[in-house]
Each structure stands twice: as structure tokens, then as C-alpha cells.
Symmetry: C2
Subunit: 331 residues, 2 copies
Amino acid sequence: MGGDRGPTEIVKGGVDYARATGETVYLVGPREPVEAALRACGGSDAPVEVVPAADVIEFTDKINAIRSKRDSSIHVGTRLVRDGRAQGFVSAGHTGAVMFVSKVMYGVLEGVDRPALPAPLPRIGPGYTVLVDAGANVDCETEHLRQFAVMGMHYARRIFGVENPRVALLSIGEEDSKGNEMLRAVAPILRAANVNFVGNVEGNDLLTDKADVVVCDGFVGNVALKVGEGIAESIMHIIREESAKHLTRRIGAALMLPAFRSLKRKIDYAETGGVPLLGLKNISVVSHGRSSSKAITNALRVAREAQVGNMVGHMEMELRLLHQAERRLAL
Amino acid sequence: MGGDRGPTEIVKGGVDYARATGETVYLVGPREPVEAALRACGGSDAPVEVVPAADVIEFTDKINAIRSKRDSSIHVGTRLVRDGRAQGFVSAGHTGAVMFVSKVMYGVLEGVDRPALPAPLPRIGPGYTVLVDAGANVDCETEHLRQFAVMGMHYARRIFGVENPRVALLSIGEEDSKGNEMLRAVAPILRAANVNFVGNVEGNDLLTDKADVVVCDGFVGNVALKVGEGIAESIMHIIREESAKHLTRRIGAALMLPAFRSLKRKIDYAETGGVPLLGLKNISVVSHGRSSSKAITNALRVAREAQVGNMVGHMEMELRLLHQAERRLAL
């Protein structure tokens, strides 16, 4: 039921993935609308299975409401994973709810207080910058940001093959003296930690090659992501409008179509599909609220890759090694 | 000396403005580099005057350093305004320093604790959304955000002619329950205040028509602005690269050139030039750190319009009326 386009697009995404891979996809939600969506996309014969969940978490629900809806699709879905019946969970629903319920259901790895949501941002050149936290943790303390740095570093290494990821803080000036109270307090902690801390970067550096992991609290991260999306969409909209104004421009736009398509692929979140929450003992993938069926199919791929690549086991090991190294330093 | 391109571009911008308007422009800074820049741009015969300032405020300077450099170009320039020798001050330097020194030099209007920096963002359709604070105030309390709302409302009304500006909070969800601790505390204050509060907007709404004034703390505002700039530049860069790849695309891009120019004009901060700090008893205009001479010329125009339109007097009156209305409500 999650996302602005659920259940239609969500169910179709699951069906497409199941057909393409032959793997079983559980479609979790209130039976009637989910089955209707399944019929609507002609997916009744695909290797999917409807798992009923009576409650629906709304975007307006606060933590107590989320906690009490024990039969929500997020609860039922993560329970399937916890009990080993499924290998990963994907949701385009309430990000905070996915984080909260996953944390309760799976538990967090040693050394992690809160799971973090990474956002891999495609750079102008090759590669990605990982923004963490991208919206799962709104009010943070310095220790949380240190943990985001560590988990983001691990993610950049495992997913993007960056050997020694450069970690930076998202701030409003490059000097340590810039930033708000919390950032000024975090900088020395990261300098002392066992991470390759390269200092502050600014908002306009997110798509450049200055850092591999950019750390911020989830409020700032979410604002940054949404602003980026909004600007990208506005520019494409203005180009479309301007292009339609004269015949010569229309011809020009037609000739440039492959260039625009290539740009769209580069900035389209549907291509990524979703990102795994970091620091959990099992796999939950958060997908965009506006996810299309294609985004959901790709999000299911992300969940599968996290499972096949043993993301959780590797992160657990890395956190343990880091912990040991820091204890040695402290002795 | 301010900005990444000072003093060359700054001096040239002043010379161009002085020549175009016949008004006197004081070029404030260490005599030698300023006079060298003046000669370099062939502006020695323009109606400009070099006013020496021995100190230079660096981007790394903290508040105590700024305070002690009493002969900095920011101090000398704002002193010229305070003493009535000049009618407005423009700087592309350290925004925090311009705010701090202007506040000390001019004083703030009744009902204002801290001056605010507005950023007028061009919408996809006609009109502007005013983001306030755009980076002058990093660590804020709820009362500061209330004042930003009031000053932003006044700015939208005076500069963009919006009769009853809609005020919103920049958050990560439209419901009052979304956002960080501070935002959740500000929402009821704005609902009770004498402003047309329409609730929360998200980062991707900044360029839409959902609100006329969007309020946030200066840290979030600055990150949002810089992310927007970075994304816009990246997209233009990718389009340029993609366009150069094949002959047909190159032809297409050539035919579309007027469309791209029109887009660039729309998103180019040099077209705006600078924004006045709000809530001061006199005029200081903050220009972008990367300002070209054209941006500086336009920033001088902004200062002039603020002076001619009696921005300070109008804001003072409006704040007084608002204050009286709120007192009546409280009785």
C-alpha cells in the first residue's frame, strides 16, 4: 500500500521482478486492493503470493500509531524476513515507519544506535557520492553522525568498490569553523575516528568528486535530496517549454532527444530503485514515495544483491574490526 | 576584497554601475590592490572613489577576529552608510561578517533580533518564492523563525507585489507532525501569528507556486541553495557534454541555443545580483561569493532600489503595525 502509486505500481513492479527472475515475490497488504491490482496488471499467473496485512500505516501516523499497528504491511513484511520466509523487504511507504519497524523486528548490529538511509547520488563524472542520512533520522546527536560516517564508508566500499572512501560533513563552508553547533562538534570526533575524514563540503559539492561519503542529519539530507529533485525536474520542464516555442527549437530538441534521455537516466531515481537501510541485522530496502513499477523492480534487485553479497555480515564484521581498532587506540 | 573574484570583478562591477547611472560608487578596500584593479579595468575616469580600508576579513575569520578588524572594508563601508555619506552597502564577502558588522553599525528595527537574508528563487511559472533565512543565521530558535516569516512576508509584498504572501516552513513532509524538533515547535507559533501560514512545504516545492515565503534556519537555507545551484550547474554540464557527442546533437543544441540562454537567464544568480539584509536600520546588500562584475552591477541596483523605495521605513512601519495587532490580540 506504500507510496503515492500503491498498490497498482507496486504490485506491477513485484510481478515484473518475479517474472524476470523466477523468484517468489510476496505482495503484502490488505487482500482486496492487492488482489485487484494483481488482476489489473495481469499478474495472477506470475510467481507471486499475496500475504494479507490488515493495517495500513498512513504518512501522517506518528510513532505510537505505527507501533500499535502490528498487522501493518511493514510489520507483516519484515516479520516474513525475520522468520526466514523471505530474504529481503522492499517498501515505498513511510520511511520513518520502515526504519522503526525494521529496527524492532530485526535488531541493529553492535555499535549501531540507529539504522541509516544512504542515498547514492550520481556524479557529473563517473561514480557516486553517498549521502547519509537521507531522511530516516531527523533529530540526531554527534554520535549518530559518527555512526552514519562509518556505515556510509562501508556502503561506498561494498557497493561502489571505493577502497578508502573519503568521508565529509555536509556544511555551509569548507572550514571546520563553519556549520551549525552540531557540525562543529562532530568534526573533531570524525578527525579522531578511524575514518578517512576530509572535512566539510558544501551543497554544490554533492555531485563533484570531493568526497565519497557525505554525512548529515536526516532532516538536512532529506531537504537536500528533495531540493535536488525539484531543481532537476524544473529545469527539464523549462527546457521542454522553451523547446516548444519555435519550430527551429522543436527540431533542435528532437535532434537532442538521445542526449536528454541519457541525462534522464542519469538523474532518474527509478534507475536506482531503492536503498537498503544500513546497520540492521536483516534487509529492508526503502523505495521512493513516487516509485513507478520500474523503480520497485529495481528496488527488489537491490534487496537481492544485498542478500547475495551478504551486506549485513560484511558490515557486522567491519563494525567489529573498527570497534577493536578504536579500543586499541584508547588503551 | 570580497568574493572569489575580488577585487577585479568587484571593482569592474562598481565602475560599470557608476558609468551607467552617473552615481558615485565608493570602492572600499586596501588602496593598492583596489587601485590596481581600477587601472586594469580602465575605470580611472569613472565617477568612483577609492576609500581605503586597511583590514581584510577572511572567510575563515570567526566572530572575535571580525569584531577586532575595525578597519575592514565591511566596517569602513557600512560606516559610510551609517554616517550618511553613502546610501547603501554592497559586499560579496563573508556573509556572516556583513550581517554582524551591519547589525552593530546600523542597529536592528524594533521587534527584530537578527537580520535575515532572503533568497528570491525564480519559479517554473511566473513569480518568485522567497527563501528566508538563506544563510545569515545558522543556529536559530523558534522566535527567530517567526521573525524571518514576518520579514519575508514584507519582502515578498514590497519587492514582488504579492498582496497577502503565503508563508510556509521548509520541512520533510507536509503534515505538522513532520520535521525536526524545532520545526514542530515553530508551526503552532506561526499558526497563532498574524501571518498567512499555509503549513509545511518540502524541498521540491521551492520552485512551485505553493508558498510565497518559505522559512528555515540559515544552515538549512544555505544547504538548499547550494544544492540547487550545484544540481543546476551539473545538469547544464551534462547537457553540454551529451550535446557534443554526435553531429546531429550538436546541430540540435545549436538550434536550441535561445532556449538554453533563456533558461540560463532564469537560473543565473548574476541576474539578481544580490539581496538586502532584512530588519536592519540601513541598507546592506549581500552578493554571491562567486559574483561577476555583472552581478555586482545588479547588486548595486538592488541597493539603490531598496533606498529609493524606502525599504527600511516600510518594514519599520509594518513591524510596528504587526506588533500592535499582536498586542491587541493578546489583550
